[in-house]
Amino acid sequence: MKRSLVKSTLLAAAFSMAAVPALSADVIKIGFNIPMTGDIPKVGESSKLSAEMLKEDINGAGGLEVGGKKYMLEFIYEDNEAKAESAVTTALKLIEKDEVLAMIGPNSSKQAVPAGQVADDNETVMISPWSTNPDTTLDRPWVFRAAFLDPFQGPVAVDFAAKRFSAKTAAVLYDLSNDYSKGLAEIFKADFEGKFGEGSVKAFESHGTKDQDFSAQLTTIINAKPDFIFLPDNYNQVALIVKQANQLGWSGPIMGADAWGSSELMELCGDLCKGYYFSTHYAAKGAKGATKEFIDRYTAKYGEVPDDVAALTWDATRIVLKGIQQAGELTGKLSKDREAIRDGLSSITKFDGITGSMSFDEQGDPVKCAVVVKITDEGEFEFTESVCP
């Protein structure tokens, strides 16, 4: 009995939830589905800081001009706790209750894949800045992303290492529970062994997400005497791994991927990471034009160099805004506007972002160049080479 009582009160509550205020005319609402607590709070924080800066820019200039009319931006940040189920309810809340025109995030694939389903089912544009899992956008016309996929980044690392370190053998240490890290590691291995023969990846070791000690894996790797170590890991773990590799007597090169690209890397890793290379979206040192301006302003505003999440969120949000502008005009009818935005987004042929210029393929994945950067002795990320698809 009580159960039905509770259910009926809930239903009543649900009714009141459904009665949301009508969309005010001159505001564009964009939702952010980001992890502010849970495993990766820094990702959510970077996203939010970057978006806030963009919002201030545009609102400071009087708003975004769409079809001859200025609209103020309203960004709604929702915490998805780095959980899949929470990302789904967050997405539904943003789409339905907050009536956002488009959604940015979630960032890690664990949340982006189910949230992408929700966005696609409810016909709302979603763009994930950071997710690299092909399933996020696969067969989902409403879902886009700003980061390049692993199948592109893996071979970049292989080719670069073969050229720069004249490497014939490699070792890989990756995060088993992190699909980004695991996917990249596997693609790297397949590509490397395809080029240098079976067994050229001498050690293929894994660890868990929250691990802090890697000495056993590193001992195995160092005993295998590879030409270099490939480390597709998040920067916080990179700092620990590099330090421990050093303590175990490793002095060869280490190469990483775009998850290294954070200002915190140098703070956490110190001198030990200097001289290493990683593939990423843009090079902070020697950046020109809009990229440099973004980095300088972000650094001045928040006292830290923007990481890859911040840069990708900036781009993702700008892509959405451009899509809105391409839509021509906003009618105030949600479903119509959302569709116009999607068509606007797909029609973008070339977008000059701070992480490089890009266009979208039919799956909503960006086609853009990767760069390999070197960590200089000053701790800056210096451009070394650029690889385009």
Partner: protein, 338 residues
Amino acid sequence: MKRYNVQIILAVALAILAYLAQEEIIGKYALSVLMFMGINVILSTSLNLVNGYMGEFSCGHAGFMAVGAYVSSVLGVMLFAKDKVFGPALLDPSLSIWVFPLIVIIGGIAAALAGLLVAIPSFKTRGDYLAIITIAANYIVISVVENIDTIGGARGFMGMKSVVKAMGKTIDMPWMPIWVFIFTILSVWIIRRFISSTFGKGVPAINQDEIAAEIMSVNTNKMKMVAFMLSSGLAGVAGALFAYILGYVNPGSFTILKSTEVLVMVYLGGMGSLSGSVLSAILFTLLLEALRPLQIIKWVVVPFLLILLMQFRPEGIMGNRELPDFFPRLKRFYAFKD
């Protein structure tokens, strides 16, 4: 007539829920909160069977949930969807309506079998030592899933949405809320029947005094096995529903953190109180949703509120009593115990 009151009320509630969901009077957001609430009810009541009634301290509930989620997902996708690994659909999609409940139950059975991993050591090992075995079981399940690449490993497994869509295409109804509702009611009912049956009285007997229970001819080993398997089986059912609601499963959703969330719900409601577990699962889900605007502070405020609650009601919301103990008139409808 009177004895069918509850059934009638529930059937009407289900019909109303289905109608509201179908006509989209109640939004998808509210609906998804309701569905997760139902899943939390299954999880907390089933864990209460072991932690409350039997008095053990199991902290690996999410592991069994994972087993149910994965088994039912793989089965459903194999039967009704085209998949890279499992090939084309084996059965006609229009059959999905009839087979879906079976798939969920098979997920539950698989989870119950995984429950043996804990049930068998529990014959000898008890208390906090058993708690570690449950944690280990949780870790083992996650690790096994991460190592099987055919079901995606850490990348997760998807394709369940097409099964749900196939059901909707055959008969246009909001199937997921309906199934969650039915299975929630079913699992509360099963636990209630089990606990109040003569056979099931052995479970609280073990809690009171295991040796005395043994002397009174309760087969304690069998009792423990049944309780653990029932509990983990229902967790598997919850996991299966969870997987179909999300349309995507990932080992990261079933870690020890999820287990502790369920633990909190059980003790918040009160050990050995079925209606307490139901109530606390509902309250906990609502609280987490209602406090969303607090963002980071939410996870300071929620535990703080719970600690305060513990200070004022050190035995949980209900203690070991049931709702009708507080509101005797409810007994006319449902007693929660005999």
